[in-house]
């Protein structure tokens, strides 16, 4: 610990505070009068919900494929179609992407929050 850190620690300890009996009573009384807010348990979805949503998804995909392919031959472009799927190298991601991107997302959120705060401060400073 360097000199400044030691000094700051010592100075913080020199700030004498005591919680008075009156404040102690007040806090205890108010804590006993408070009921913790119950966390609403997540209700489990019925099994047919997942089946229904899967079927809806499959039906939507089939509909999109049918619409895309239901074109007359003269509307089709003559250019040689490029197989993008084959062109793009496949990356075999074993790790869960959420685990990899989670900290970055947190950092991004915080940076955005910094930016917002700075923006508000500037607005406040210029009296907007």
């Amino acid at each position: 610990m360097d000199k400044l850190a030691k000094q700051l620690r010592a100075d913080a300890e020199r700030i004498e505070v005591t919680v008075s009996d009156e404040l102690d009573r007040r806090i205890n009384a108010s804590l006993r009068a408070v009921e913790p807010v119950e966390q609403v348990p997540r209700t489990a979805k019925p099994p047919f919900f997942w089946l229904a949503s899967t079927l809806t998804g499959v039906a939507a995909a089939v509909a999109v494929i049918a619409i895309v392919n239901w074109q007359s031959p003269d509307e089709q472009t003559s250019a040689t179609p490029v197989n993008f799927v084959a062109a793009v190298p496949t990356i075999d991601l074993k790790a869960e992407s959420a685990m990899l991107t989670g900290p970055l997302q947190d950092e991004l959120d915080k940076l955005q929050s910094d930016l917002k705060k700075a923006e508000e401060k500037v607005k406040r400073d210029i009296g907007l």
């Binding site: 100075d11 913080a12 806090i27 807010v37 915080k110 406040r124």
Partner: protein, 180 residues
């Protein structure tokens, strides 16, 4: 399982007694911190009471992956800010020496307390970051979580705060040398 985690578990099960025990572990530290953020001693006491009530009320939302103190300080900072309102000026500008609760808690005989000069030198958030780092021994990650700031912001501002206070400390040392 530590005593603290036992108390937290009991409080989450609804025990007010357990939470009172938990509050006893933190209230002096919180009050000392709130004194630096509030305009009067009474305000700091009110903020402490509100903080503990809010913490107990929402104890179910506490996630054990965080340190309990980090969660508690987050609530305390919000409560202190609520007491002051969104449009008030920096707290250092509000106080005169007679009514400053921080000055009142430091004995007259003592030399200049660095935290008093820190408050006039640093802005609220940098002051809080410095307090959490050096008075509460919190890690940079915990400070950034408490202040809802990025880790980079926290590191940069801790560095700036340190520089400002080092200058302050050296000038006080030079003054006392000059006066013998």
């Amino acid at each position: 399982m530590t005593d603290e985690s036992k108390l937290i578990a009991a409080a989450q099960a609804g025990s007010a007694d357990a939470f009172c025990g938990l509050a006893r572990l933190y209230r002096e530290r919180l009050l000392r911190f709130l004194l630096t953020r509030c305009a009067s001693f009474a305000d700091a006491e009110d903020a402490l009471q509100d903080t503990l009530i809010a913490a107990f009320r929402y104890i179910h939302s506490y996630d054990s992956r965080w340190r309990f103190s980090t969660w508690l300080y987050r609530i305390a900072i919000r409560n202190a800010a609520k007491l002051r309102g969104p449009d008030t000026v920096d707290i250092g500008e509000l106080r005169d020496e007679e009514n400053d609760p921080l000055q009142q808690c430091i004995a007259d005989s003592e030399t200049q307390n660095l935290w008093v000069s820190a408050r006039s030198t640093l802005n609220d958030e940098v002051f809080t970051a410095m307090w959490l780092r050096y008075a509460e021994d919190m890690s940079v990650n915990d400070i950034s979580t408490t202040l809802d700031r990025s880790v980079s912001w926290t590191k940069v501002n801790l560095m700036r705060g340190r520089r400002a206070l080092e200058t302050q400390m050296n000038s006080v040392a030079n003054q006392s040398e000059a006066y013998g």
